[in-house]
């Protein structure tokens, strides 16, 4: 029982790291980037290649995955995404679905369609006993890393100069520009960091989530649920939403396998209808 709760928490934390970048692009920059999962996949596959083919230590893989996905995000933002900021949501959806298709085929071409397996270092595998529950060491590690990241992100957004500039740009881009804030640069940077976090999440999750070419499509719906339920205007909302979703998903699959998927989708639709701005957000600010 506790083990399931624990697995759910680890899974939820992972979802949060994966989805938080999308929260920023979607909620703050108002851009529907369904291809967010592709950046996570890039990070995950980089880890697989570095560890399994080059034998590089797992510790180097995590920052490398972050930097790689962030660079990828920055380049794509500069060249492609920027042209679509003022287009309709439908255009953005179609564009990012196109990117998903391309990334899926490209990964399939480069790495094959089979699921990739990451061999974790021995000190991260195995189980320990906490409060009488068997808990995977690696899941503890994931929770710790994601927890630190979540706190760090909240701190950056709420306390630093960059955070307040970002919030200003989002609240009213024109006025922020008028005050001398370089909105374009802030958005580029935010987009890159969001993609990088997704890449890091992909690297961390490579051994928990299944890493195959269908990753971006499979987890797209999870990201959307996190944002639908958590609201996209804060960091804490998606955080709690991911935790809930992680626990509900793991628990649901374990206890009521027959209706697992049902509940999650139904909750998403219900939340969207009755609280379009998300469960955990305050009513609109304006």
């Amino acid at each position: 029982m506790l083990t399931i709760l624990f697995d759910g928490v680890a899974y939820g934390m992972l979802l949060f790291i994966l989805a938080v970048g999308l929260c920023v692009t979607l909620g703050l920059m108002n851009f529907v980037n369904l291809a967010h999962g592709a950046f996570a996949m890039a990070g995950g596959y980089l880890t697989v290649v570095m560890m399994n083919r080059m034998g590089i230590s797992f510790w180097w893989c995590l920052p490398a995955a972050f930097l790689f996905s962030a660079a990828l995000g920055a380049i794509l933002e500069r060249t492609l995404y920027r042209r679509l900021y003022d287009k309709t949501h439908l255009d953005q959806v179609l564009f990012s679905i196109g990117l998903i298709f391309m990334s899926m085929a490209a990964v399939d071409y480069a790495m094959g369609a089979s699921q990739q397996i990451v061999n974790l270092p021995s000190y991260l595998s195995g189980r320990v006993e906490i409060f009488g529950a068997q808990v995977g060491v690696y899941r503890l590690f994931v929770i710790a890393v994601c927890g630190v990241l979540a706190v760090g992100l909240q701190f950056i957004i709420a306390r630093t100069r960059f955070g307040s500039q970002l919030r200003a740009s989002v609240d009213d881009g024109r006025v922020a520009r008028g005050l001398g804030i370089d909105v374009t640069r802030i958005f580029s940077l935010t987009f890159a960091v969001g993609s990088g976090l997704a890449g890091l999440g992909g690297a961390l999750g490579a051994s928990i989530l299944s890493m195959d070419p269908f990753f971006p499509l499979k987890y797209m719906i999870y990201f959307l649920i996190v944002i639908a339920v958590g609201g996209a205007t804060t960091i804490t909302g998606p955080f709690f939403a991911s935790l809930l979703l992680g626990i509900a998903d793991v628990g649901g699959k374990y206890f009521v396998p027959a209706i697992g998927g049902f509940i999650i989708y139904t909750i998403m639709v219900a939340v969207l209808i009755f609280r379009p701005e998300g469960l955990f957000t305050r009513r609109t600010r304006r």
Binding site: L90, F101, M104, D108
Partner: protein, 359 residues
């Protein structure tokens, strides 16, 4: 087939005035008359002629009509009423299963297995679900609608897998036999009956949509798409219009699903899967939304491209679909039809320049 279509649409001779506008501003729309143009007739003649031109591909061609019909149903909602949806595949699936279950119940014998009755049931079932869920899309922004329709489609997909007793689970329904069409023509192995059955029904439904769009009702939809708030202030029943068009489109999607079941004689959960919705939306965007013909032209282009790329890179053709999609969004407005119309306008205006403004 594609060559014929392009010829049918490409001609750049001065169109009967007023020139068809690529920009869909309601004011210019209002001026467009709804007479039949010669290229429309040519399009349908070409469709019928493909029976003799490609006698070995009849099944594929009838599938193209069916996909085109599904895309047309999205066009009604998206291109004319301006509602974004990612869930049209659910209605397609409901229609497919409804028609399949009807045919199964009748054991291949009329009256229960009659294909037209099956389509009526498919349309009614999908329309009923469409009506029930239409209230969900009235609220919220485009983004909310995308996610709500996606959620509804996913719930339905999940149901298909879970209710094994009715739907056959992941095996689907096998051996769905319909009785002969109108008691005369039975579905044959070569797809001859399937071809004419799907072509004629697609044409009839298309006629219905054409009439619908070129009516006051259709104009009011365009007004709502242009600006719902203003439409409401001049006294249009916005919500009622949206509910009705969503229901009609769902019923058409259901009928197209039923047609696919009857012509291929089986139902698989694949027919209700999410990628149906995505494919159909893609087809519409390929062809161009808001033109009525977009779905049909897009379906032809999509299947021909799929066939062509599938031969070159059977495994990676998805890459090129993605590439085309990205390029379309970035550089082309209005898909294939939009492109052809823009080209035709350019040629017309150039000719006018040369002749000093006289056509």
């Amino acid at each position: 087939m594609s060559v014929v279509d392009k010829d049918a649409l490409a001609p750049a001779t001065p169109a009967p005035s007023p020139a068809p506008a690529a920009a869909i501003s309601p004011a210019r729309r209002l001026l467009l008359d709804s007479r039949w143009r010669w290229w429309e007739l040519l399009f349908w003649v070409a469709c019928a002629a493909s029976f003799w031109v490609f006698p070995k591909k009849l099944m594929l061609i009838s599938e193209i009509f069916i996909l085109g019909l599904l895309a047309l149903s999205i066009d009604l909602v998206l291109g004319f009423a301006g509602l974004v949806t990612l869930g049209q595949g659910a209605f397609f699936g409901i229609g497919a299963y409804a028609a399949g279950l009807m045919a199964k119940a009748g054991m291949g014998v009329a009256p229960l297995s009659d294909p037209l009755l099956g389509l009526a049931v498919a349309g009614l079932a999908a329309g009923a679900v469409g009506f029930a869920t239409s209230f969900l899309v009235l609220r919220g922004s485009d983004l909310t609608r995308l996610m709500v329709t996606l959620g509804v489609a996913l719930i339905f997909e999940e149901m298909v897998i879970k209710f094994k007793d009715i739907t056959g689970g992941s095996d689907g329904l096998q051996g769905v036999m319909s009785s002969p069409v109108l008691g005369v023509w039975s579905f044959d192995l070569f797809g001859r009956t399937a071809f004419w059955y799907s072509l004629i029904l697609t044409f009839l439904i298309f006629l219905f949509c054409r009439r619908l769009v070129n009516s006051n009702y259709g104009l009011s939809l365009l007004a709502i798409k242009g600006n719902p708030l203003r439409a409401r202030t001049i006294g249009m029943p916005v919500n009622a219009r949206l509910v009705s068009i969503y229901t009609i489109a769902a019923a058409i999607a259901g009928i197209s699903g039923g047609m696919l079941t009857q012509t291929t004689q089986f139902v698989s959960p694949d027919m209700a899967a999410f990628h149906r919705s995505a494919d159909a939306l893609l087809i519409l965007i390929f062809g161009g939304s808001g033109f009525l013909y977009g779905g049909l032209v897009g379906a032809v282009a999509f299947r021909v491209m799929q066939d062509f790329l599938g031969n070159i890179t059977p495994q990676y053709w998805l890459f090129y679909v993605g590439l085309v999609l990205v390029l379309l969004v970035l550089f082309v407005r209005g898909g294939i039809i939009g492109m052809l119309m823009a080209a035709s306008e350019k040629l017309t205006s150039r000719r006018n320049d040369q002749t000093g403004g006289r056509p």
